[in-house]
């Protein structure tokens, strides 16, 4: 009965797609033809409940539809149509808590934050005499912005005494909904009593335990074993990382005797909020301390991002600037400077896993380097109490700068990397909350002989191999290229064929001052390298390198950009020499190869060709992923150039910025944002001008 419903209409709801299926029926995405909004429509399976049960459910659903709370999925309508009985509710885009909980659990901050929201929802409902009675991980959704929504309030069918006994005896044979429900059932329900707000608090305790520990407290091979554990056994100890305060809240929720539990959900919420405050103060290394949030005001108007916009992020030595444009990349709104006066060496945008998070490393000459993030395109930034990237005490090292923030592979959406000075790699597996030093690289026997470059000794490039999970490349100035084949257990220098001008030995195993390496995901075995003198290609994962600089005015340079779609196209900006790090002959020219280094062509249309002594730093050069690709670079003199036709022609989109340290770009894909209007009307929906928000008009005419 399911597939053929797509496209049909039920009441005034047009069924669009199937979202999921459970014991009670099927959930569809549907279009409300009257109010013109998408909704979730749950159609009960015909035999799911009998007439009495249906009437009862109808009454309960009607009562539940009166609930209006930010953490409760709103029920819009309960309807009957011929033989069909359906519930129409708020459509929630997100993931269920059961999908989010991994085997290691969630961070303590997340557990308390989600737990407090669920408790708030239960409290709101309990105040109106409504119990949930089927609270479990699959009934709790988390939206992309971290808001919890509890589903199916009051919609649980009453499970009668007979069903319970059947359930405990033949667990495997039962419908999946009951199997999913049993581990959350309070002892009194297993004894045949009706679920109420106190059994909801038990279920909340189970959820908190599961989220903190990554596993359920009461398990078994059969339903009998599960219910026996629920009735008789204490919950197994929580992992040591769970703070005492949180463990105490969970324990009290999971008291077998109802009178010993919390008596109100609001008490649980208050207790969790108290724990939340304590968790934030904990100096546990895995619990990154968020600290106060800095709201950047200074009379600044921020970017109004729209879905599918292009976001250009510019780090300078006096702060960061953010620019947005529609996909035509014609006009840019500018906001900034953020982090007034601080050096911004690294920026990244993490759009994985429903996030839309900006990461910035800010470095104050005075007060040190901190990683900061914003989930709303720069309105609010975290300002951690403690530095999240820190060298272990036994190294005696202290962080000077973060030079690179890199995302892990798409299938590891919580993995981030940072390349820092002094040269080291840090890794986060929890979306940037906590960071660990890659110890084997830090302790590499070559380290004592790495030489600081002009800007210090630092790790600036990180490339996880797109084809092989255990392989990764890093580049260190001046240490060279290093590769791991075993997920970081060991690292090998990969510099054969790359020349060193500043050592007596011209082709050493390591010690090269590599400025940038790139590779294209479709040809992961092939890499390109811009050296401190020298441009190279490797066809064997860095095992050996060939000089490909023939035809360039100089083989000295810093940045290097891979074309997003063509694995044979690479861009560089040669500068004259080590001593005179400016574009040769006062001409700003980007060079491109379209045959993997066989030949090079100068791209200069729209770029100044007289008196332009410019330097483009290694991370101030990037490409977007659109077609045709956009190429962007910033100069040390504070000019920002862009090409929206793969380099054929260029425009100066901004000038007068402080020295540009890094330029990154992202295409924002975000369902919650409005779409940009037609590109033919770029002026529409643009915010008002202010001193900080400027319109950058193209000024691409040749001088």
């Amino acid at each position: 009965m399911t597939a053929d419903l797509i496209g049909q209409t039920l009441g005034h709801y047009k069924i669009l797609a199937k979202l999921g299926e459970g014991g009670m029926g099927v959930v569809y995405r549907a279009r409300d033809e009257v109010l013109h909004r998408d909704v979730a429509l749950k159609l009960l399976a015909p035999g799911a409940i009998d007439k009495v049960g249906r009437d009862h459910l109808l009454r309960e659903a009607q009562t539940a539809s009166a609930l209006s709370h930010p953490n409760i999925c709103t029920i819009y309508q309960v309807g009957q149509s011929e033989s069909d009985f359906y519930v129409v509710m708020e459509l929630i885009e997100g993931k269920s808590l059961s999908d989010l909980i991994t085997s290691t659990g969630l961070s303590m901050e997340t557990v308390t934050r989600y737990g407090a929201q669920i408790a708030d929802a239960l409290s709101h409902a309990a105040d109106r005499g409504i119990a949930h009675r089927d609270l479990k991980g699959s009934n709790v959704m988390v939206t992309a912005d971290g808001r919890v929504k509890v589903l199916d309030f009051g919609l649980a069918t009453r499970i009668e005494r007979e069903e319970i006994s059947e359930l405990t005896l033949s667990y495997e044979a039962l419908e999946s909904k009951l199997v999913g429900t049993l581990p959350y059932m309070a002892p009194e329900i297993l004894r045949g009593q009706k679920g109420d707000h106190l059994s909801d608090l038990w279920a909340l305790g189970i959820l908190l335990y599961e989220a903190a520990a990554g596993r359920l407290p009461f398990t078994g091979k059969t339903g009998f074993e599960v219910s026996s554990a629920v009735l008789r056994e204490p919950p197994p100890p929580l992992p040591p990382a769970v703070p005492h305060g949180l463990a105490a809240v969970i324990q009290r929720c999971l008291m077998k005797e109802r009178v010993e539990r919390y008596q109100r959900a609001s008490e649980v919420r208050a207790a969790l909020e108290a724990v939340q405050g304590a968790v934030l103060q904990t100096r546990h290394p895995s619990e990154e301390t968020r600290g106060p949030r800095t709201i950047v005001l200074r009379g600044m108007e921020h970017l109004a991002m729209k879905n599918r916009d292009v976001l250009l992020m510019v780090g300078t030595n006096k702060g960061a600037f953010l620019l947005r444009s529609s996909r035509d990349r014609h006009k840019w709104d500018v906001a900034g400077p953020y982090f007034h006066g601080q050096q911004v060496h690294a920026i990244a945008y993490d759009g994985r896993n429903g996030r839309h998070r900006l990461w910035v490393s800010t470095s104050s000459v005075l007060w040190g380097t901190f990683l900061r993030s914003s989930d709303d395109f720069g309105r609010i930034w975290t300002n951690p109490l403690e530095a999240s990237i820190r060298f272990p005490a036994d190294t005696g090292a202290a962080l000077r700068n973060v030079w690179q923030i890199s995302l892990g592979r798409a299938d590891e959406p919580d993995t981030l990397f940072c390349g820092v000075e002094p040269a080291a790699l840090f890794e986060s597996r929890d979306a940037g909350e906590s960071w660990t030093l890659a110890r084997t690289l830090y302790d590499h026997p070559h380290r004592p002989r790495w030489l600081p470059s002009n800007a210090g000794l630092f790790l600036h490039t990180i490339i996880p191999d797109p084809s092989t999970k255990s392989r990764m490349y890093v580049a260190i100035s001046a240490g060279g290229v290093y590769r791991t084949e075993d997920s970081g257990a060991t690292w090998q220098a990969r510099n054969t064929g790359v020349r060193v001008v500043f050592l007596p030995e011209k082709y050493p195993e390591f010690g090269q001052c590599v400025h940038k390496i790139v590779l294209h995901p479709s040809r992961p075995e092939r890499m390109f390298l811009q050296n401190h003198w020298g441009v190279y290609r490797s066809d064997n994962r860095g095992d050996s390198w060939q000089d490909i600089a023939r035809g360039l005015p100089s083989d000295f340079g810093f940045g290097m950009v891979m074309h997003p779609h063509d694995p044979d196209s690479v861009y560089i900006v040669p500068v004259e020499s080590d001593e005179f790090r400016c574009t040769p002959d006062g001409r700003l020219r980007v060079y491109r190869t379209r045959n993997a280094g066989g030949s090079w062509e100068a791209l200069e249309r729209g770029l100044p060709q007289k008196g332009a002594y410019e330097t483009i730093l290694r991370d101030a050069f990037t490409s977007d992923t659109l077609d045709p690709a956009g190429i962007y670079f910033g100069t040390r003199s504070g000019k920002l150039f862009a090409s929206r036709d793969e380099g054929k022609s260029w425009r100066k989109i901004l000038e007068g910025l402080p020295q540009i340290m890094c330029v990154k770009v992202a295409i924002i894909e975000m369902d919650g944002l409005p779409s940009t209007k037609s590109p033919s009307k770029p002026r529409s929906a643009q915010p008002a001008r202010s001193s900080a928000l400027r319109k950058a008009s193209p000024r691409g005419k040749r001088r």
């Binding site: 103060q281 100096r283 301390t289 600290g291 106060p292 800095t294 030595n317 104050s364 000459v365 005075l366 007060w367 040190g368 901190f370 300002n383 109490l385 403690e386 530095a387 820190r390 060298f391 005490a393 190294t395 005696g396 090292a397 202290a398 962080l399």
Partner: protein, 95 residues
């Protein structure tokens, strides 16, 4: 026990509850490092901005006890007199 006061520079007041000066109780005879640790316990956001993770005073942060720059009085082990007025000031820097 004795009281000492710390003058907090503008850029760090975000982490001192916006106070320009905070009074902290320390053990009699405590040195500057112990005084700072008491300060950091009360205002944890200050620590990593004044010291590096290896425990050194940041290069361009100067600390004075009264009018004395502690770089010339024994650094972080300089003893604190009762009612010491400790001033944390950013050095002149450019770039």
């Amino acid at each position: 026990m004795m009281l000492v006061s710390f003058a907090i520079p503008g850029p760090l007041r975000e982490f001192s509850g916006n106070q320009t000066s905070v009074r902290i109780e320390v053990l009699s005879g405590a040195n500057l490092l112990e005084g700072l640790q008491a300060l950091f316990t009360a205002y944890p956001g200050l620590r990593d901005r004044i010291l590096t993770e290896s425990g050194q005073l940041r290069q361009h942060v100067n600390v004075f006890i009264g009018k004395e720059d502690i770089r010339y009085t024994g650094g972080l082990t300089t003893p604190l007199p009762a009612n010491a007025e400790i001033t944390i000031v950013p050095a002149i820097s450019g770039g």
